[in-house]
């Protein structure tokens, strides 16, 4: 038997198994889930196929068999290396472990962002107090006219726009701002720095402006229900952006790209939690904040309770620790 005949004979013994495997992958892709037995069989097939492919690459390179096996091997590799679907268990793990871990990692950054926002707010307040005409830098003509006529621009807004639509507008705007704060970290953290500083500056400037027209209490009444969580989440998003910038300035992995990817992978659960919190505060801002029937006490209660709930959620309190078989409440190593 010639060597070519030997290879052909060997391919003959394997080809049917390859064709069957290709069919199996196709079925797996169409149906989605597979049993443990089928998954184990795929792993075995993966090993066998790798051995076959190595042989074909050596003895029959550039042939149709080689091309088909390359494709089959890549498809099987993708199936085997797919990320697991965690379901509810993954959500619980995220609430219990990932969120607190990310918060611990970001603690310094969050504090820095709170200081930056507060400092910028003081700067904005001082500037508008000293130079009132500069308010046109941070407020639209319409807002200025409203305040000068003795009412906030938010008054009567729910008579113009339904609360649900208003909520969606607000929450989508807040989510986009938070995402921008994260993405702006790409500019070595500077983009995030400017974004948070600008937000704080505008807040301080608006408070100064409405205060000059005797509406400071009205603005406080408006924002106290949704503001604590909203501003906290913006600060957390800013801290994530700063962490992204830090991962590029001082990479912890072999390359900046890997460091950047690693940072975002660790922060994604926290970012997801921020989105959920912003959806909640968006609904508060759409339904409760502009509604004059809610007294100040109720608003403060809502704002404080929602902020405490945020603290519990981000601290891992929503998913209690799994007790060990021996009764200890600490995690297994």
């Amino acid at each position: 038997m010639t060597s070519k005949a030997g290879i052909a004979a060997w391919i003959g013994t394997r080809a049917a198994a390859w064709a069957e495997l290709a069919e199996g992958i196709g079925t797996r892709r169409r149906r989605g889930a597979s049993s443990i037995g089928a998954a184990t069989q795929f792993v075995d097939s993966y090993r066998n196929l790798a051995r076959d492919l190595a042989g074909v690459r050596r003895f029959a390179p550039g042939t149709r068999v080689a091309a088909a096996l390359e494709t089959l091997y890549a498809q099987l590799h993708a199936e085997i290396h797919r990320s697991p679907r965690g379901g509810w268990r993954a959500v619980l793990d995220m609430l219990r472990d990932d969120l607190p871990a990310a918060m611990r990692e970001l603690a310094g950054g969050i504090l820095a962002m709170v200081c930056l926002m507060a400092g910028s707010a003081v700067a904005g307040y001082w500037l508008i107090t000293e130079y009132p005409p500069l308010v046109s830098l941070v407020a639209s003509e319409q807002m200025i006219e409203h305040v000068e006529s003795g009412s906030l621009w938010t008054e009567g807004i729910i008579n113009v726009t339904p609360s649900s639509l208003l909520s969606v507008q607000i929450l989508s705007n807040n989510i986009v701002v938070s995402f921008f704060a994260v993405c702006a970290g790409l500019l070595f953290g500077l983009g995030t720095f400017y974004l948070i500083a600008l937000n704080g500056f505008m807040l301080g400037a608006l408070f100064a402006f409405v205060g000059q027209h005797g509406l400071g209490r009205a603005l406080f009444t408006f924002i106290v229900a949704h503001g604590p969580v909203e501003l906290s989440v913006i600060c957390i998003a800013g801290a994530i952006g700063a962490a992204v910038g830090d991962s590029l300035i001082r990479p912890r992995h072999a390359s900046r790209r890997e460091s950047f990817q690693g940072c975002l992978a660790r922060m994604t659960p926290l970012l997801g939690a921020c989105v959920v919190l912003l959806i909640g505060s968006g609904f508060i801002e759409g339904f409760i904040s502009p509604n004059p029937t809610y007294p100040l006490g109720a608003r403060i209660t809502i704002g404080v309770c929602y902020w405490i709930l945020m603290g519990i959620a981000l601290g891992g309190g929503l998913a209690p620790r799994r007790p060990l078989a021996g009764g200890s409440s600490s995690d297994s190593p």
């Binding site: 070519k4 052909a8 003959g12 149709r64 089959l72 993708a78 649900s164 994260v182 993405c183």
Partner: protein, 240 residues
């Protein structure tokens, strides 16, 4: 650019090679997806307007306006999550998202690559994203860099080719079988006289000496049939 390959070490020590999708495939997929989400969002909007007789009342406004916005802006992350790294546009363009290990990406990676659309779409028409795919080594946009993903060509299942190989594996010359299959694949694109000449040459070399005259007289369609037999592994039987 579509011929570039992303090679990673497989779990068995044998490399996995995946063809990288270039800016052309990406743009094609995006344009299809953009039309799909636009059409679905508009369909909802028009349907809702018909239901409310063209009058958007204060109470019905959210039901008319919110769903189209959700469809338009959340199309990519939701569809990619459910279709495991694909969208109808990507499927039509024959591309899919994989992670750096060559596997199907997880939900976190899909969310991150979609968040960074905010940057890739700046200042408009995805200029930043498109430029990045031209200059980056693996033709990725910033969202892919952030999520650790890339777009590869999703080659069709090799099941049919492998079945043909299984059927023709008894023949002793793999190269001839491959050549025959390749000529058949290009048959419609080749000029009639050129393909007949190539097919005759190949069949004559494979056939017994007394068959040369018969092959020289075969018509274009008969040559194709004979060539298909060679590709399937029937050449020896025929030649004898």
């Amino acid at each position: 650019m579509d011929s570039e390959r992303y090679t990673i070490r497989g779990g068995t020590g044998v490399d996995v090679a995946m063809p990288i999708a270039g800016p052309g495939s990406r743009s094609y997929a995006f344009i299809i997806d953009w039309h799909i989400r636009l059409i679905v969002a508009l369909a909802w909007l028009l349907g809702a307007l018909l239901v409310v007789n063209g009058r958007i009342a204060w109470t019905t406004r959210p039901m008319v306006l919110i769903p189209p916005l959700v469809i338009y802006f959340l199309y990519h992350p939701i569809v990619e999550l459910f279709m495991r790294g694909q969208t109808p546009g990507k499927r039509a363009a024959g591309v899919r998202i994989v992670d750096r290990d060559g596997g199907i990406p997880g939900s976190g990676a899909i969310v991150v690559r979609n968040i960074f659309r905010l940057v890739d779409s700046l200042p408009g028409l995805y200029v930043v994203g498109l430029l990045t795919t031209f200059i980056s080594a693996q033709r990725v946009r910033i969202g892919d860099m952030a999520a650790g993903t890339l777009l590869v060509l999703d080659e069709p299942s090799p099941a049919k080719a492998l079945e043909e190989i299984a059927a023709g594996a008894a023949q002793d010359d793999l190269v001839v079988s491959d050549l025959a299959a390749q000529i058949l694949e290009r048959w419609p694109q080749l000029a009639a006289d050129r393909r007949s000449s190539i097919a005759r040459e190949l069949l004559t070399k494979r056939a017994a000496p007394d068959q040369a005259g018969r092959i020289a007289l075969l018509a274009d369609a008969d040559l194709r049939t004979e060539l298909a037999a060679v590709a399937r592994g029937g050449s020896r039987a025929r030649a004898r």
